[in-house]
Amino acid sequence: MQSQTDKAVEYLIVAERLSKSVMTSEGILDILSSIDLLIKPGESMAIVGESGSGKSTLISLLAGLDTPSAGTIRLNGNDLTVMDEDGRAAIRNALVGFVFQSFQLLPTLTALENVMLPLELSGDKDAKIAATALLSRVGLSHRLTHTPRQLSGGEQQRVALARAFVTRPVILFADEPTGNLDSKTGAIIIDLLFQLNLENNTTLILVTHDQVLASRCQRTIRLESGKLV
């Protein structure tokens, strides 16, 4: 058995005995139970499982978007479970990038503004330059001033990718990033995702239903009814 500190040095994410349960009208519902997970820096990992098995819940916990009912999560040595919401927000801003199935772009901001946002939140003066560069990298240099409504789904997801990578995150979480796209567009997005991942040497945690996509990751874990199998 390794000591806590050793683990923290060696692994980027250390999750121990992670559980999540919620109160519903029919009583307590266990969504995740006692999950242990170690992820090394630079590693890429796919989470697969049936719909409703708890994949999104797990990834949200790991990213600090929500708090577990029990267990601990260390992200780059920071114990998320003892932090308050603002502390986690700071960690998210500094270390984490996100891509969602439903893009989650702000409808009133332009593509450029959407990408600049995380940099601006951390007070980066050169937000515009970095954002413009990244948008060209994803092939949208001609759509900078367009709002999400004026973009196709694939283009929106590319903006979301640019937004996720613009802070040079240590870890990227992607929850079914191609779920809303046709297979061709999806493939383009995935290629882009892996390229960016490689360029930035980012740790990648990817939720997917797609076996082929999962196999492009170094490791795959499977969830069944909230348990690792």
Partner: protein
């Protein structure tokens, strides 16, 4: 009916959503307040009517200088009206070698039909209220009669040839006229003794008062029947007549009540429109689905229509009930001030409250709701496919008509309705333009500010149409509140100004010129503040430009009474205080005699113009003067006021006395006895009772109005929350994404604070402009009060606007900031 059932089920499923609660609340506030106000105003009005009846001792009085034709009296009997009559005339009383000009009042059996007399058995005994006059063979007198004639209770008093026993002292006479010149001390006797006294000879100067009481409808009919038959010496008085001693306070207060009720309806209406809008937008998807499932557009309309009708019915019923309680509570709170007998609540007022609710809902909720009808079933496939806004013309048209209807209903005053609507419409237009301009200005700032400010500003700018609407709604709300607050304050101030603490409450009349210096000295010695002493000559206006006045004056006009009684004429070197020249010039030092200055209203009624020739009879002489100026004056100051002021010297040689008014506190009343003893010829008129009553009435109104202000406050808050709710969905998403990207809660709070604070600030600034314009037109054209802007409010309003919107925004967006970002993202 199947629509109804489905609508009911959908409504029940929807009950958890915030906007329905808010809608119900807003509607309930509107109904509660309009029910409470209309009930309250209705009851107050009728209570005041009853009080007015007390002043007349009847519901309707015909004043006449002669008896009435017998068939008039029969007609009154036909209408089942109770009748009484009084005759008033002066008569010289002589007892113990003392002489006194008494004002005799012979009363019939039923007198007084309304109100009561107060009498005592002796100087010190408790006052007693009675509802009858003296019996045959007896007389009730004012105390002054006893001291002047060296009599005591139980002594006989000769009135003409009839010996009456003085059995009581009169301390209060319900229908004692505020006519300051019929001031001789009262002797009241029974009508039955009049014949025997023989004082009434053909040609004696008698005022007959024929008094009636009965069903309001019958009275109206009777009045209508009698009116065309009156001769110039006859006059009808009833409870609807203006009561000059209240200085228009009552009618102003009634207008104010109506106004504040409209204000509440308007504000609540804004809240309803806003919540319905959000409700509609949230139901786009469901509606598209229903249409995919085969519902036609008409069905959709009915489905939602029924839901709103059910809502309206619930809110209106409950609001009526609440309104009834509130009104009851108001009367309870005011019970110390109101007369014992308060008129009972009227059901029509409750019904009106209910109709208000349904009408407000229809006017403000229908236009946004109509959008649902236009939802395309294709929206199921393409989320962004939103139905067009229903013509904004319809929205504003409906709201506008509703407001017009309510204003007209409450004020029943076309001028006021037109003024309010006209200035309101212009104001809205100007407002919209100004907001647009402000937004343009703000847009210029965006590139130069920090991130949180940028987000705050962009929050306002990104949907500028919605922001204009929101700021407009806030402004209207604020304007409404400022309006009701300011109008209230100036009403009360105005009343207080007219009734200063030490307003004169006594008049001294008939002070002989040779006694005047001594009288004045006596006042000063006793520390009594008196107004100027005015010389008075009694005279009658008989001709204007050589045409007899009787031919000029129409029967109903107010000038009438001035023409068939003697006027108090005075002269003055300088223009008395509180008099203002409105036409012509006040005379200069040493200018010629033979000039007169006429009071404005009288001049208008008698159609007197500058340079007209007026002829007066004074005693047996006639004199002519030229009108040199027209004056306005403040009637309700309780200082001596004169219709006619002559240039110095004009009235030289005519017998004159002096007149003054002064303030005497209750505790110093015994000074009066000394004065009366020392100057027996002088008459002291005690108007402090009338004044006290006026004060009481105004106080009750002020208090009631204060309570009603809370309604507009509540309605205002419902708007605030409605506005915050209207943008909540958007904010929730934005907040979640920002937090996912690492924004701190403090940052989000700051963004919201900036956004709402700015919205409030802009609304506040516009409110100042708007309310100043509206207040000005309201004051000058409707309330007829002088207007001066309140600069304190200029500072306060933007601050309050900013603060209240921020607070509401802060509370409303708490969940955006506090929920875990995942929960929020899941809900999207």
């Amino acid at each position: 009916m199947s629509h109804f059932n489905l609508a009911l089920r959908l409504l029940l499923r929807d009950r958890r959503s915030g906007e329905l609660t808010l809608l119900l609340l807003a509607l309930m506030i509107a109904v509660t307040s309009s029910t409470a106000i209309s009930l309250f105003a209705d009851r107050l009005q009728r209570t005041m009517g009853e009080q007015a009846a007390e002043f007349l001792a009847a519901d309707l009085v015909i004043a006449s200088s002669e008896g009435l034709p017998a068939h008039w009296l029969e007609k009154a009997t036909e209408w089942h009206l109770d009748q009484a009559q009084t005759k008033e005339f002066p008569s010289v009383l002589i007892e113990n070698e003392e002489m006194l000009l008494g004002s005799i009042k012979a009363v019939s059996e039923n007198y007084p039909l309304r109100g009561y007399l107060k009498i005592t058995d002796s100087d010190y005994a408790q006052e007693k209220s009675v509802q009858n006059g003296p019996g045959p063979g007896t007389a009730w007198v004012e105390k002054r009669v006893l001291s002047a004639l060296k009599l005591k209770l139980g002594d006989p008093l000769m009135v003409g040839d009839k010996k009456l026993i003085i059995t009581r002292l009169i301390t209060y006479e319900t229908d004692k006229r505020g006519d300051f010149y019929s001031f001789a001390p009262r002797v009241m006797m029974n009508d039955a003794d009049l014949q025997a006294s023989g004082v009434l000879q053909p040609g004696s100067h008698v005022h007959y008062y024929f008094q009636y009481r009965g069903d309001p409808k019958a009275l109206t009919e009777f009045k209508r029947w009698i009116k065309p038959q009156l001769n110039p010496s006859q006059r009808i008085m009833d409870i609807h007549d203006d009561r000059p001693e209240l200085g228009g306070a009552l009618s102003r207060a009634e207008r104010y009540l109506g106004l504040s009720s409209i204000v509440v309806i308007l504000i609540a209406g804004v809240a309803i429109a806003m919540t319905t809008r959000r409700y509609t937008e949230r139901h786009f998807n469901a509606t598209a689905l229903l249409r995919c499932l085969g519902l036609k557009r008409r069905d959709i309309l009915w489905l939602y229509g029924w839901q709103f009708i059910i809502l309206g019915f619930l809110a209106s019923s409950f609001g009526c009930l609440l309104g009834w309680f509130v009104q009851q509570a108001l009367f309870h709170l005011l019970r110390g001030l109101l007369p014992q007998q308060v008129a009972s609540p009227g059901w029509s007022a409750v019904l009106f409250g209910f109709i208000t609710g349904m009408a407000v809902l229809l006017a403000f909720a229908l236009p946004p709701l109509l959008r649902l009808k236009q939802v395309s079933p294709l929206k199921v496939l393409r989320r962004e496919l939103e139905p067009l806004d229903t013509g904004t013309g319809l929205v504003y048209g409906m709201a506008f008509s509703a407001i017009a209807f309510f204003i007209e209903r409450y004020t029943q005053d076309f001028a006021m309705t037109a003024t309010l609507l006209g200035s309101g419409l212009i104001a809205l237009l100007v407002l919209g333009l100004m907001i647009y301009g402000l937004l343009r200005l703000i847009a210029k700032l965006v590139p130069h500010v920090s991130l949180s400010w940028r987000f705050g500003l962009q929050g306002i700018l990104r949907n500028s149409k919605a922001s204009v609407g929101q700021i407009m709604a806030f402004s209207i709300t604020l304007v409404a509140m400022v309006l009701s607050f300011t109008v209230r304050t100036s009403l009360v101030d105005d009343w207080q100004k007219h009734l200063p603490e030490k307003a004169p409450n006594h008049f001294a009349l008939n002070i002989f010129p040779e006694q005047q210096p001594a009288f004045k000295k006596e006042m000063i010695q006793n520390g009594i503040d008196s107004s100027q002493f005015y010389p008075v000559v009694r005279g009658r206006l008989v001709k204007i430009n050589n045409i007899p006045v009787q031919q000029i004056v129409s029967k109903d006009s107010q000038g009438e009474s001035a023409t068939h009684r003697e006027l108090s004429l005075t002269w003055a070197k300088d223009l008395p205080e509180e008099n203002k020249i409105t036409a012509g010039k006040w005379w200069q030092e040493g200018q010629q005699r033979g000039l007169v200055s006429v009071e404005q209203k009288l001049a208008k009624n008698l159609k007197i113009n500058l340079h007209d020739q007026l002829s007066f009879t004074i005693g047996s002489q006639q004199m002519n003067v030229t009108v040199a100026s027209i004056r306005s004056l403040e009637w309700d100051t309780m200082k001596p006021n004169f219709y006619m002021i002559f240039s110095p010297g004009t009235l030289d040689g005519y017998p004159s006395t002096f007149l003054t008014s002064f303030y005497l506190p209750e505790a110093q009343k015994n000074v009066l006895n000394d004065l009366v003893k020392k100057y027996p010829g002088t008459t002291i008129l005690e108007v402090d009772r009338i004044l006290k009553q006026v004060k009481t009435v105004l106080l009750q109104l002020t208090k009631a109005i204060n309570y009603l202000l809370y309604f507009s406050l509540m309605a205002g808050f419902s708007v605030l929350f409605a506005a915050v709710y209207a943008t909540l969905d958007h904010r929730i998403q934005e907040g979640a994404v920002l937090r996912m990207l690492g924004a701190k809660r403090a940052f989000l709070r700051k963004v919201h604070l900036i956004e709402f604070g700015l919205l409030g600030l802009m609304a506040g600034l516009l409110t100042i402009v708007l309310s100043e314009v509206m207040l000005y037109s309201l004051y000058t054209h409707v309330m007829h009060i002088d207007y001066s802007p309140n600069y304190g409010l200029w500072l306060l309003i933007p601050f309050v606007g900013s603060l209240s919107v921020s607070v509401a925004g802060y509370c409303g967006t708490r969940q955006v900031v506090n929920k875990s970002p995942l929960t929020v993202l899941r809900e999207l």
